[in-house]
């Protein structure tokens, strides 16, 4: 029982940063921006979250700073890819490289450490206890005690869904991806929508980064995004950007990651259990492709 609850909680916390980053990527996906900079934005967000929280003692300021940090990368992305029309893939790769170098450098410069900065003065994002739900067996143990950012991620999923499919902003955003010429000639510059989508991505990746460094664990480590930005990209592409689908894939990924660790207790070499999430992604892709083929032929 405890293991199962642990697995579910692990799934939720594993999914949260991926979900937040992927939701951010969904905006750019719909706006027709090929954005692979989520990895760098997560990392930058994680760094600035710790920076803000450590110096001010307020996790909220940490989160805000994380958003600003990730937004800074968004601005560079906008400058190069939207204004100067540089190839988006190149811009993304360069920004990821930049984020690793810059956060490592700042870590050394500001905190005079390399590798990990962990300090009791870093205020974590609080966990939300639900006194009512707590008494329900099983469900209560999952619902209560989740870190605030988990709920934020859930909310962000719904909000993103609403924004993209129900609002003026969303109609224009998707138009920028489907046919920018149409949007341009209807008087809304498509480049503006692309820029806005990148800003949205920055905000969400900032939140995701702050979850990494102030939520699940309470420290900054070099390269602590550890490929989650790439997984979020795979999640987006797998479900064509649909926010609900993204939530599902993120959970699947969080689950298989935890499952991989758990399987180690059962005589599978750790390198193979570590592959589980990636193999799960491939399997998801298989079913997705099969479904698409069916739809196409129908």
């Amino acid at each position: 029982m405890k293991i199962l609850i642990g697995l579910i909680n692990g799934m939720i916390s594993g999914a949260t940063p991926i979900l937040l980053a992927a939701l951010g990527g969904a905006y750019t996906y719909y706006a027709g921006v090929f954005n692979i900079a989520m990895e760098g934005m997560l990392l930058t967000g994680a760094f600035f979250a710790v920076l803000g929280s450590y110096y001010t003692g307020s996790w909220l300021i940490g989160v805000l700073l994380a958003i600003l940090g990730a937004l800074f990368l968004s601005l560079i992305f906008i400058l190069f890819a939207v204004v100067l029309k540089t190839d988006e893939f190149v811009t993304g790769i360069a920004l990821n490289l930049f984020a690793v170098g810059a956060t490592t450098y700042m870590l050394r410069k500001i905190f005079s450490v390399k590798g990990v900065f962990s300090n009791p003065a870093i205020q974590p994002i609080p966990a939300i206890r639900l006194p009512l739900a707590e008494n329900i067996p099983f469900v209560g143990e999952i619902l209560s005690g989740q870190i605030l950012m988990v709920w934020v991620a859930g909310l962000a999923t719904i909000l993103t869904y609403f924004l993209i499919f129900q609002t003026r902003f969303g109609l224009r955003l998707r138009a920028a991806g489907y046919n920018p010429a149409r949007l341009d000639s209807s008087g809304v510059p498509s480049s503006r929508m692309r820029a806005l989508s990148l800003l949205a991505c920055g905000v969400l990746c900032g939140l995701g980064g702050s979850f990494l460094s102030l939520g699940y664990v309470n420290l900054f480590a070099e390269n602590m995004s550890a490929g989650r930005g790439w997984i979020s990209l795979a999640a987006i592409i797998l479900v064509n950007g649909n926010p609900l689908g993204i939530a599902l894939i993120s959970l699947l990924f969080g689950f298989s990651d935890g499952l991989g660790l758990l399987l180690q207790g059962y005589r599978v070499p750790s390198q193979f259990t570590a592959m589980v999430p990636y193999i799960a992604t491939l399997i998801a892709l298989y079913f997705y492709a099969a479904r698409k083929r069916r739809l196409n032929s129908a």
Binding site: I76, F80, L84, K85, T86, D87, F89, V90, T91, I93, A94, L95, L97, F98, V100, G101, A102, T104, Y105, R108, K109, G227, W230, L233, A234, I237, L238, P269, Q271, F272, A274, M275, Y278, I279, T281, L282, L285, Y286, A289, A290, K292, R293
Partner: protein, 345 residues
């Protein structure tokens, strides 16, 4: 052509200037830093030889990516293909015993086979299940990483070693050195020339290029799209795999942890910076190798930390590509304005 070279040079210069500003802001002396950077990468027998050698695992995956992208194939699996190639060559080197003249080519071929098979997995999944090679190759990179890690900690481990690694391969499979020059660079030159030749002179290369530009047109023109996709996937996989084999045969002579580092991924980046041009990929590969190699000297002499060289590389990538595109439009617009002025008079 001259314009292209000029644009590249301007981009590099602007990027280096920007980098200098960054260094100044952080309180380092940019001149001394660049001096150290290039002294440890270009000016000198050993530095130059090292730069050439370090270029191998950048240029080969770069060529692989350039050919794939230019053919409309999104093979991003170079990192995985590289380590699989390295593993194949290593295992071959552990169990085979042939005279060097045979052993070296056999191991090189084995490494190509490793990369080819790993790319082949992605190709087959795409071909028969319609699974986008973009995601598949990315996932296979991770899987290859763990798989090779397992291979060197379990079945092929060196029991005498303190960290996961295989024993050394048979010395007959070691690439000889000429002075400081490692003969692995010969393989690189040969690969560049061959790849260029195949891509630009072969009939298949012609079809790949056209397919990359307009797949429907190529298909209607009678090109066998599926076969070409397979061929490109396998060939680019083999190129990346070869890089892995050469790294083993010319470097530590065994598969050790961290063998692949970030090379292949940097190679992909280089291919894009080079706009998928093969010769340009080669040149940029040398250039970035020089930066990476020189970073060591930079660290040693001016104690600029090596993460600064990472930032510098990011700036280089962005600025080179942005300025190339900016300069192209700038040049064209200037010509247009001149033309308009002529028309008015």
């Amino acid at each position: 052509m001259r314009q292209k070279i000029l644009n590249a040079l301007i981009g590099i210069v602007v990027a280096l200037l920007l980098g200098a500003v960054l260094l100044l802001l952080q309180g380092y002396d940019p001149l001394a830093t660049y001096e150290a950077l290039f002294r440890y990468s270009l000016f000198g027998y050993y530095p130059f030889a090292t730069t050439l050698r370090n270029a191998v695992p950048l240029v080969l995956p770069g060529l692989s990516a350039a050919i794939a992208f230019a053919s409309g194939v999104v093979n991003l699996g170079q990192p995985g293909q590289l380590v699989m190639g390295a593993l194949f060559a290593t295992v071959g080197g552990l169990y085979l015993d042939l005279p060097p003249a045979l052993m070296i080519p056999v191991l090189a071929l084995l490494s190509m086979l490793g990369g080819l098979l790993w790319a082949g997995v992605a190709a087959l999944l795409r071909r028969f299940f319609d699974m986008s090679e973009f995601i598949v190759t990315l996932m296979l990179n991770m899987i290859a990483d763990f798989f090779t890690a397992w291979a060197i900690t379990e079945p092929f481990k060196d029991p005498a070693a303190f960290s996961p690694m295989t024993p050394q391969i048979n010395p007959n499979g070691w690439l000889p050195k000429w002075g400081e020059f490692n003969t692995m660079i010969l393989f690189m030159f040969a690969a560049v020339i061959l790849a260029w030749f195949v891509f630009n002179r072969w009939k298949a290369g012609y079809e790949w290029r056209i397919t990359g530009q307009n797949a429907l047109f190529a298909r209607l023109g009678g090109c066998n799209i599926n076969r070409n996709f397979m061929a490109v996937m396998l060939m680019t996989g083999a190129l990346a795999g070869l890089a892995g084999g050469l790294v083993v045969m010319g470097g530590p002579h065994r598969f050790i942890r961290g063998l692949g580092a970030n090379y292949a991924w940097d190679g992909v980046m280089i291919a894009i910076v080079a706009n998928n041009g093969l010769i340009a990929t080669f040149l940029y590969g040398l250039f970035f190798s020089a930066i990476q190699t020189g970073a060591l000297g930079m660290e040693l002499i001016t104690s600029v930390p090596n993460e600064i060289s990472q930032v510098l590389q990011a700036v280089l990538v962005l600025v080179i590509v942005a300025s190339r595109e900016y300069l192209n439009t700038f040049v064209e617009q200037r010509a247009a304005r001149r033309r308009a002025r002529e028309a008015r008079t």
